[in-house]
Symmetry: C2
Subunit: 561 residues, 2 copies
């Protein structure tokens, strides 16, 4: 069973599996009160992050030969303490993640771990929690070998094939989410990579925390997406408290011209350390001149692309907001995953910075759409603020970012629309949206008059004077609107709903290349999905057309997450 990775962690594993199954039931049979009950059981966003972080600190990442004896491996490691959980995966090589029940086990394990002996002085002897297992070659292979799972996402063709085997569009959209979403194991691996990086940064800033934000934690992350991280230094200041009277002592510290200069300085040193000392870390780039300075690197053992920023607390709050919306009703995640997949298939979004609509913008558009249902499926951001308790109060750089953390305080109105209906209405809604004069505002849950003439205006949920889709130009918006209309029209046709296991139908048919010059559904269904190389060619063609705009800083998009 592929467990919803972002779902609140429950101590009882059986319960977790049951809930997972419940998620897979057709939504029409899943009344709202169940969701509210579920909300009551769940932990807050912060509590989940803390728990995962703490798990990661008790974990090690071990490169191992694929033919090892799993039992021997576990028995041997158990000498250092109880193993809570473990799993194997394949990335650039075979790896095991092993979580002990106590951090002391890590210390004990490290005690019995060697620096590579051959030419040891031609290696940087930095002792991290990334280890290698030397398996004696002489062992027999008549033993249970571990199952190494692949951590990469399905291809669009594989997804299309999978969807075509389903019985309804609702089932298709649920299946799509399960195929794309981060697995429990992948999320653990992401927190472990953050924790390994924290060991590097923590050398100088023992109280620092490296926290994942964005898609890793907002419940909308796809397998294979980047790991966005924040270097959180708040803990350093928190522990330094003036005590009583007596002499006042201060640390002598290096001064910077500004907070930004200090952030750049700290990130540049961490970047250098990652580059020179961090095992498995390659391709380190210091992108310090961006609006939000960052260090980018690839972590080979996990296969993750990582972006480390600092002082990005609004981004963390945005992640919490999306997480909260994602938890309130399962249809939110299904619809977001579907719309994003559809947008990616049609190159409405892109992994390259530019004038494209971002995933964050699309997600906010889905949230806004769901606020407009009758009755509404999601509450407004203002409502989430009203429900907040005193401990939820949060002001970041003058912006009130308060939202309720306790999901059980949120009551939802009964709306039993099917996913199929919601998808159809989403395309109709945005196919006819008055983008030219109206902005999207999830805080009020209402259309507003646009304060600027940019093509697409979506108010930043927390920094309310900013537009999260400022980068989008008229051409990209027009493509989005045209594709919405086409997809809405296709869903109105009976033919697309004809189940057909051998060729794309239903949602899978919507992923086929668009033919804006009026080609009928029949001809669309005849054509096979284009291979990836052809898609990339289209992308490159579109880049040529856009010219200079494609070099727009990624920072712009990042800053509004």
């Amino acid at each position: 069973i592929q467990v919803n990775a972002i779902m609140p962690l429950l101590n009882d594993h059986i319960c977790l599996q049951e809930q997972s199954r419940a998620f897979m039931r057709p939504l029409s049979t899943c009344p709202i009160f169940v969701l509210i009950t579920q909300a009551k059981e769940s932990k807050t966003f912060q509590a989940i992050q803390e728990e995962r972080r703490e798990q990661a600190e008790r974990s090690v990442l071990i490169s191992c030969p694929s033919k090892i004896n799993e039992n021997t491996f576990l028995d041997d490691l158990s000498k250092h303490g109880t193993i809570n959980k473990h799993f194997f995966y394949n990335s650039y090589g075979a790896y095991a993640v092993v979580e002990f029940s106590s951090r002391e086990s890590i210390a004990s394990l490290k005690e019995s771990t060697n620096i590579p002996a051959v030419e040891h002085e031609a290696a940087v002897p930095f002792k991290s929690r990334l280890l290698s297992l030397k398996w004696p070659g002489s062992q027999s292979s008549n033993h249970p070998m571990p199952k190494f799972k692949v951590q990469s996402p399905l291809s669009i063709n594989e997804i299309s094939q999978l969807l075509s085997e389903k019985d309804s569009i609702d089932e298709q959209l649920q299946c799509l989410t399960e195929a794309l979403e981060l697995t429990e194991e992948n999320v653990r691996l992401r927190f472990l990579v953050c924790s390994l990086l924290q060991d590097i940064a923590g050398a100088y800033f023992p109280e620092c925390i490296i926290r994942p934000f964005g898609s890793t934690v907002n419940s909308f992350g796809k397998l294979g997406c980047d790991v966005d991280m924040i270097l959180d230094l708040d803990g350093i200041y928190a522990t330094s408290q003036k005590k009583g009277s007596g002499l006042s002592l201060e640390y002598q510290v290096k001064r910077g011209a500004s907070e930004r200069a200090v952030t750049q300085s700290i990130l540049s040193v961490i970047g250098k350390c990652v580059d020179q000392f961090g095992p498995g870390c390659v391709g380190v780039q210091n992108i310090l001149q961006a609006r939000c300075p960052l260090v980018r690197f690839a972590h080979q053992p996990s296969g993750f692309q990582c972006d480390l920023t600092a002082n990005n607390r609004v981004a963390m709050k945005s992640s919490e907001l999306l997480f909260l919306y994602g938890q309130l009703d399962p249809r939110v995640r299904h619809l977001v995953f579907s719309v994003r997949c559809w947008a990616r298939a049609h190159s409405i979004t892109s992994s390259i910075p530019g004038a494209w609509i971002t995933n964050f913008s699309l997600t906010v558009m889905v949230v806004f759409f769901l606020q407009q249902r009758n009755p509404p499926i999601l509450p407004t951001l203002d409502r989430l603020k009203e429900l907040a308790g005193p401990s939820d109060k949060c002001v970041i750089e003058g912006n009130d970012c308060t939202i309720v953390s306790d999901l059980s305080k949120i009551t939802l109105q009964q709306n039993t629309d099917t996913l199929e209906k919601l998808l159809q209405e989403f395309f109709e809604f945005y196919g006819n949206f008055p983008f030219n004069k109206t902005s999207i505002n999830i805080r009020k849950g209402k259309e507003q008059t646009k304060p600027e003439t940019t093509a697409l205006y979506i108010q930043n949920p927390f920094e309310t004077t900013l537009n999260i889709s400022k980068n989008v130009n008229a051409t990209q918006l027009e493509r989005f609107v045209a594709l919405c209309r086409e997809s809405a029209w296709l869903l109105q046709q009976k033919e697309i709903l004809n189940q057909c296991p051998d060729s794309p139908w239903g949602f899978a048919a919507l992923l086929l290349p668009s033919v804006t010059s009026g080609a009928g559904v029949k001809s669309r269904r005849k054509r096979k999905l284009e291979p990836a190389s052809s898609r990339i060619k289209n992308l490159l063609d579109s880049l040529k057309i856009k010219g200079g705009e494609t070099v727009a800083k990624k920072g712009n998009a990042n800053s509004s997450r």
Copy 2:
């Protein structure tokens, strides 16, 4: 009382002071057996270094206003534990070094220390043991204020004045040593600066040690000399031991092309950290392409210029060898300090790398000279190797660097020559030395046939195929020989021995500028000592003459220490 800083540490402070006084007695009244007794009481070089290092780890460096109340200051700090020792000094500002009896006190002190509050995010919040005291301005000034000692050396004029007040050349040379040598406090400060740097390097390499070597520890260091440091990573490998059977785990580490490449990588990161995070560290230069890669920086709170190298174990052994020779007979240090002072006054040595004779070469020349006395004052290096016990065995990169560590095993022959006689003979010895065909070899204690045609050949004591004075050219050697002859001749004149408190006499007269064109002693004594600016002009003139040779890498000189 200015205590001999390099002298073996004795637990009993009174004893230390008495010995210090004994050192000031004229040497002719100081029979050899006293020296042998002293040797028996002393600790090994390694034990002294360990003790100083451990003291430094229990110490903090505090910037403080000069008008503080010493009692209040100490009372307040004593809340964190017993203070073993403290002292105040002036460098770039007023500072206190405070040594607690336990490392826990440091942790407690740090607990009650704040990150500077004003614009705290424009400062790198790295918590080191370099603190600032904020003294309330309102306090009255009717209290005992601490005595802030200056850590800088006397000027040549001040030294000359001091020497002219003495009663004999022997007293002059002893006085000179006391005026120039590192003080107990200065040595403590040096070890503390190493320890502060170790906190930075230790963030990634917890078992690493930053050890001072060279003049800080070899007993010949002058106030104001650079702090040479080694990053010793051996402890990292020492603790990683294969344990029993079971699976074999290794750390994944970054590989380098060579040991040198890894050293460069590690030093470059530490250099960057020192530059960006290290409070009080300025002017950081990564000199990684030198034969012995190094990071150079100025540590402002101590006023020290620091050179950090790695993997330089032969240099550490050379320091031990000099220390050992310096301990065997007090005349060794007096003669070395005198010859070095004389050489510096005549620009035979220089703080700029080039074709000059180095202090290390001069010291080895003094050792060699003392091995040639009848009876010899110092044993040969081969003899020190013969006396070594099994635990003294030391081979570094194929070179046998074994020397005895227990000074009590060394018996010396009775030689009661006065310092005046030895100085006179030193100048005669090298004024007539057959440099053209003979090399200096302290291992055998005998002149050897030169294996190369370099102007000056002094065999490297441990890397015996190397010449530690390869950099010296014929012109510099000729100047040295000419000045030796002139000084020998001057000492033979009665006139120079006429005590005269108002103008330089005795050894002080030897520091006056040389007039090689036959000017008599009288005219020399009439001329006043040139001011420093004139000396620098001479130095610059000599630089112009030497041309390209002055850019010779400092690495050459460093490598043979």
